[in-house]
Amino acid sequence: MASRGVAGRGIDWVNVVLGAFVVLFFIFMLAPILVVVVVSFTSAGYVTFPVPGWSLKWFGHIFAYQPFVDALIVSIEVAIGATVLSCLLGVPACLYLARSRAAWASAVMTFLLSPLSMPMIVIGFASLFFLSWLGIGVSFNALLITHTIVCLPYVIRTSAGVYAGLPPAYEEAAAILGANPLKVFWHVTLPLIRPGIMAGSLFSFLTSFDNLPISYFFGSARTNTLPVVMLSYMENQFDPSIAALSTLQLVMAVAALIVVDRIYGIDKMTVAA
């Protein structure tokens, strides 16, 4: 396959042009990310690029600014809570949906994944009114519920993907040997689909952690998430502390990607995406 078109011509110009285009593409993709990483280590008191010198002061600054610290804690709590809720709701659903051949099962699957396709600002705006009517307006629980709506599809998609690829033979063997359904689930199914659950949980965590259009509507001194605080900070100030915070988040996300790759494989993720 690699030798096609090369024969007798020396240089394959299509390949060269395509390759150059791909390099330009990745410069475009990486430039806005890399400049932020660089700026987070600046010694300047304002945003400038290239940076005049290096320093870690902006990382110190973000931890000295109380709203960032408070919001970081809220964000982590919401992301963990929404992920746990998503697993509790999503994994049982997968157990049935991934194996069922019924027509309605695929319709239910589509329904469970549909929050991914809806504009988040609409979900946030509509939820605020409904949850206020229920008496849980602007609160931590409201964040938990609304984040679970958009986290659930990630857990379901990856868990169902892994479970659908498993032959039922293992579970049948356990059942024949006398294990009741609960035991089969706990000792056979769960360990086998754990990679899917873990990968879905990581996507879910990152999705919740990065969410702004929903969290925005539930913001208050005690329920502001990190992106909400960052947005209001950016509307008034333009300094490198946002870069430092972003770099920290990036380190977290890359670590998560490496974990996902180890237990799940990147190629499977692209299939799931």
Partner: protein
């Protein structure tokens, strides 16, 4: 004589039918996802006195200001989608057909930005085009092309670039998935029959990969339509439905109008979802 099964025990078991496993998730989404959206739709057709009204939709569809907002939302999404196809197709083609041992690296580079926060990427564009950002510093100090830094803060082009930056990986992955599945023998046959490389691409590969372009286009269009963070921070004077909902909520506090706009956005999203399902189903069969 009736035959008695050992039925009594089946009663609690009936609750544990396997399909019952989907009930909690479905119930959760019905209550906290569907009901609020329906309620939101109802709010848009109820006037202040509690009666039924379609005046908000009338305003949205006839008032020139609101018409422009809706048109700008759809045109922006369509533009971003088109640019993503033009940029994404060659990258997907290279990834599937030419990358060889670089494939792993390319996939990593495509996915890694998906895991960075949206605020980070927006901030990155601000840094590039800030008063003392990279672009101005190069233009003024390095090249000396201009005397004073340019003000980019009101350029819709930067907002478009930032949206393409966020969405083009989805396009590349959608196209690559379909390109991967094309039977190479079809292309070889075309070549054996005398078609050149470009003709083979134009008449065989491209038509066969259009499903991937379609899937990617719907996905990108759908996300672009609801995009909010990028436009709030890099708006460049663009007025789109998500921005208007944000403003109505924040400043005007006209919740009925915001509900009507939400419903229009929602309808567009549902149409996209429907098209997406049809496309996926067609490819599946």
């Amino acid at each position: 004589m009736t035959i008695e099964f050992t039925a009594p025990k089946a009663k609690p078991a009936a609750l544990l039918r396997p399909w019952a496993l989907v009930v909690p998730a479905v119930l959760f989404l019905l209550v906290f996802f569907v009901v609020p959206l329906v309620e939101n739709g109802l709010r848009s057709v109820v006037n202040d006195a509690g009666g039924f009204t379609l005046s908000r939709y009338g305003q949205l569809l006839t008032d020139s200001f609101y018409l422009r907002v809706t048109a700008e939302t759809v045109l922006l999404s369509a533009g971003v989608t088109l640019i993503s196809i033009v940029i994404g197709y060659p990258v997907a083609y290279f990834l599937v057909r030419r990358s060889g041992r670089w494939a792993g690296l390319i996939i990593f580079l495509l996915i890694a930005p998906l895991l960075t926060s949206i605020i980070m990427r927006t901030f990155g564009w601000q840094v590039l085009f800030a008063r003392r950002g990279l672009v101005n510093n190069v233009l003024v100090d390095q090249l000396g092309l201009i005397d004073a830094p340019l003000r980019f803060s009101n350029s819709p082009e930067i907002a478009v670039a930032a949206l393409v930056h966020v969405l083009v990986p989805f396009m590349v992955l959608s196209i690559a998935t379909v390109l991967q599945s094309i039977d190479l023998r079809l292309e070889e046959s075309a070549k054996i029959l005398g078609a050149g490389r470009f003709r083979t691409f134009w008449e065989v590969t491209l038509p066969l990969s259009l499903d991937g372009v379609g899937t990617g286009a719907i996905l990108v269009f759908m996300i672009a339509n609801g995009s909010f963070v990028t436009l709030v921070l890099l708006g460049g004077g663009l007025q789109t439905l998500p921005l208007m909902i944000y403003q109505q909520f924040n400043t005007t506090r006209d919740f009925g109008m915001a509900s009507a706009m939400s419903t229009i956005l929602l309808v567009i999203a549902v149409v996209c979802l429907f098209l997406q399902l049809r496309l996926v189903r067609r490819r599946g069969s």
